[in-house]
Symmetry: C2
Subunit: 311 residues, 2 copies
């Protein structure tokens, strides 16, 4: 029997539960508002490199939720944290985890209102978060002529992981930025101010290619992005110096926690003005075209794959 | 260094996060309504006896949330499920888990709107659930003169676990009820109809003694319950036949998923009428008295302890 991939598993659950429109963030209508609901599990053995402190792990477990809510323009209301902890856990370790949650709570403006504590063989942190929005942009709303925008550039986390794992070397500012992007990821909450203008949006934590494919497939359009405009500074040189595949670092890394969205052309001046006022950089990196759910970087058709658990 | 207990860990987190009033269900004010938010993690090695099927484990992971929301009179809005699955997982196992979530979704009237899939060394299921209520009864509202009520009687899950673990024997109807209470627990959603009358309430899943102590301590009262009125039928004989401690089975077992609440005396006729109309049994088992946070069964002061992970 072939091993099941994360995609297979999601497929089995989606079909059993009748969830047709799979989104990282579920939308629950609530009067005139929409409630955004999201959960994300961090597991020691797969999500916590040995250089990551318990404080950083706890903080990171909240990042994915904060990032997803930001991509949907939802203001965090509250979070809950379920913990699985090994029996051998020390007081110092628990205090550091608690400190990480405290930091995340302040940083992301979300009160952690409760949780659950359990014994487990490995560290497991599951964060669930709810937030409120006037409207939650879908993945399916991108139309031909829309502009593809991003909250930041791509390639640091995959580079940082390669450095931390010892399979690549880097120095100076690039090393610091790459490693920090793994240990202290920064979700783009400021960018949520643009969400009312998004025709579609997604948080890029499963990888840029996958994220673009999600929008392209669900919106039944093609997406074209400019390779030069999406890659982060220094990734090119880092890839070359270490004999790594640049495309892999930029499009298939994941855990960037950037917001990827589309904006109708007519809303672009407003988006630029809002971004300027908020002091954020609006990266305009491509265009939506009539199509069949494909994604191109320059002239190359990208492969539709990203990071998958159990793959 | 002494090992940390679940209580120690909760203490560290509560103090770091400034959660003064720890409740299993967090209340988030939302206009004129209150949103109830709850999460519960099930871990294979501690929460899944080998006789429990993956279908039952998935269903059980939703039970704790449904029970807690019912104790607070909150109608489920939506649930999310984060999964940790071993790499060796089979399609059949995943399909059975999915079937369990499907059953729970229908049974508890809650749509499972999304989730997260991860690789882990052991089965981990974290369910988070939100629900809406007009008002969420606190743990701190019991006043002298109130009546202590329960949705059901106590002792089956601890008996069932002793049977499943092979440390006790039983036959016939008792065996079936005790074992079913472990493998297919039934949270008391029907009882939520009485929640508007509760001065305080709690779900009893951490054990009856602990649950009563929570209300007594937070309400600064003493609670007196009638031992004969709280023990489930047959537990007495089962304890005697197997040389087990009856008090332990009834007061310190846990996972009963019964609702324990207090009702002001003047609301009792209304509660009885509502219960009759809803076809549920209102167990009136004791009284709230002036006091200092103690719990008595008959004339004996109970010990304040329940099931704790990592203990």
């Amino acid at each position: 029997m072939t091993r099941l991939s994360e995609k297979d598993i999601i497929g089995i659950f989606s079909s059993a539960l009748g969830i047709a429109d799979l989104d990282d963030v579920a939308e629950i209508p609530l009067g005139k508002k929409a409630l955004a609901f999201k959960c994300d599990m961090l597991v020691g053995m797969t999500d916590v490199p040995e250089q990551m402190s318990p404080r950083q792990a706890a903080r990171k477990s909240v990042v994915a939720c904060a990032s997803d809510l930001a991509a949907k323009g939802a203001k965090p209301l509250a979070a809950m944290v379920s913990l699985g902890l090994p029996r051998s856990i020390t007081r110092g370790y628990v205090e550091e985890l608690a400190r990480g949650f405290q930091i995340a709570s302040q940083e992301f403006g979300v009160k952690i209102v409760g949780g659950d504590t359990n014994e487990a063989s490995d560290l497991v942190i599951d964060c669930s978060m709810i937030g409120l929005a006037d409207r939650i942009p879908p993945r399916s709303g991108a139309g031909p002529g829309d502009i593809v925008v991003m909250s930041g550039l791509f390639g640091y986390p995959a580079s940082g992981l390669a450095i931390l794992m010892g399979s690549a070397r880097a120095t100076g500012q690039f090393r610091k930025q790459a490693v920090d992007s793994v240990l202290e990821p920064r979700p783009r909450q400021d960018f949520a101010v643009l969400a009312p203008l998004f025709s579609s949006s997604i948080d890029s934590s499963d990888g840029l290619a996958t994220s673009l494919y999600e929008i392209a497939a669900q919106s039944r359009v093609d997406i074209h992005v400019d390779y030069e405009k999406v890659k982060a500074a220094g990734v090119d040189e880092f890839a070359q110096a270490n004999g790594l595949d640049l495309q892999k670092l930029v499009f298939y890394g994941g855990e960037e926690y950037e917001i990827v969205a589309t904006i109708p052309k007519k809303s672009l001046p407003k988006a630029r003005a809002l971004a300027k006022k908020a002091g954020i950089v609006l990266h305009e990196v491509g265009a939506v075209k009539k199509g069949t759910g494909r994604v191109f970087a320059g002239k190359s058709l990208l492969e539709n794959r990203g990071y998958q658990h159990l793959a």
